[in-house]
């Protein structure tokens, strides 16, 4: 009996993992920066307007969360995709996320020291740019 239970549980877990993989739950979508511009590659600072918002790994509700952002937190908005914004978040006290440097070294894919991910655009309010 116990053996059948283990098999059933393993099957369910396997199906769940398969489902999550199929739906790209764990996939990360990088923040691609526009290096062709004469202006800052991100160019917009916004603040979070919700009490709490997940920093998703990709621009979708069904996504791995990389952390949570809180109201009034400042973020660089670099790219928009549908109703989602690709952002870079400087931890408090960090003056330089090396966004320009990332462009120069990695062909537009952000790989600097700050956290990055996706949030709903409606959770942002622009204040500089």
């Amino acid at each position: 009996m116990k053996k059948y239970f283990v098999i059933a549980l393993a099957t369910i877990l396997g199906a769940l993992v398969f489902y999550l993989l199929q739906n790209s739950y764990f996939k990360h979508k990088p923040i691609l920066l526009d290096a062709s511009t004469a202006y800052d590659v991100c160019g917009t600072l916004s603040i979070i307007t919700r009490d709490k918002v997940d920093l998703n790994a990709r621009p979708a509700e069904f996504s791995l969360s990389k952390g949570a952002l809180t109201q009034q937190q400042t973020v660089n908005v670099c790219i928009e995709e549908g109703e989602w914004s690709g952002i870079i978040v400087a931890p408090r006290g960090t003056k330089n996320c090396e966004i320009q440097g990332a462009v120069n070294s990695s062909g537009n894919k952000y790989n600097g020291p700050c956290e990055y991910g996706w949030v709903p655009t409606e959770a942002l309010r622009m204040f500089a740019g």
Partner: protein
């Protein structure tokens, strides 16, 4: 004496009214000069100007001078010219001393506690606010860290017939003039009507400082990480061609 304004950059002041080895100084774009006498030869005007803290008398070609506009417009373009030269004509970079301190001054003009070393904070609208505030007399201007704020206000003022230092026009409605602003969208295409209804969108505006042939020259902040110039094409009728994602021209009403 008649006051005139230098309309191009690096203008030679000569000891005698002729092209020869007689250069005694150089003038920058937007520098004022006093014309001290009648034209000599085919182009030479005797002038007196401030150069390097002193005053020099010499001759300059009339082709590189223009008549002054209103005081308010001249004060605004002068601020642009001064800051452009301070940034070594766009060669100095934003995050290096002393230029970072200048960026800090731009932020201070809108009461934001940033020191210029915050590299990822876009400061182009802060530069515009700084230049307008320093120029003085632009009552009602929306000093802000986002271009969209004052651009929206200028468009609304025009559409509603309100008195305001700038009125926003479509690019086929107003020929850009010195002292105006040229506004372009960034990343997400927007148009004049969108800007009339919204004040939060990504954009960039520069101030027109010179018009030559079929080009409008502007100066703005955070352009190639400096205070720098941009060139926009105009057509044979004097309107912007629309290249460069331009969606509005803000006419300087002062």
């Amino acid at each position: 004496m008649t006051k005139m304004i230098v309309s191009t950059d690096r203008v030679n002041v000569r000891r005698t009214p002729a092209f020869s080895n007689n250069r005694i100084g150089a003038l920058n774009l937007t520098d004022p000069v006093d014309v001290t006498g009648p034209q000599q030869g085919d182009r030479w005007l005797p002038i007196q100007a401030s150069v390097g803290g002193g005053t020099i008398d010499g001759f300059v070609s009339k082709n590189v001078l223009r008549a002054p506009l209103s005081d308010a417009k001249e004060r605004l373009v002068r601020e642009c010219g001064i800051n452009w030269v301070k940034f070594n004509r766009g060669r100095a970079q934003e995050n290096v001393f002393p230029w970072a301190e200048y960026v800090g001054e731009y932020w201070a003009s809108i009461n934001m506690d940033l020191d210029g070393l915050d590299r990822d904070v876009p400061w182009s609208a802060a530069f515009i606010s700084y230049a307008v505030r320093r120029a003085g007399g632009y009552d009602g201007f929306v000093f802000a860290a986002a271009h969209a704020r004052y651009c929206h206000k200028a468009i609304r003022a025009r559409l509603d017939g309100q008195e305001h230092p700038f009125w926003g026009f479509r690019i086929n409605e107003h020929k850009p003039e010195i002292g105006d602003m040229v506004c372009r969208w960034r990343s997400n295409r927007i148009n004049y009507d969108f800007a009339a209804d919204n004040q939060w969108y990504k954009s960039h505006c520069d101030i027109v400082v010179a018009i030559e042939d079929d080009n409008v020259f502007t100066i703005g902040g955070n352009v190639r990480h400096s205070v720098n110039h941009t060139r926009y094409k105009i057509n044979s009728s004097g309107f912007l061609t629309g290249d460069g994602n331009v969606y509005a021209v803000l006419r300087n009403n002062l």
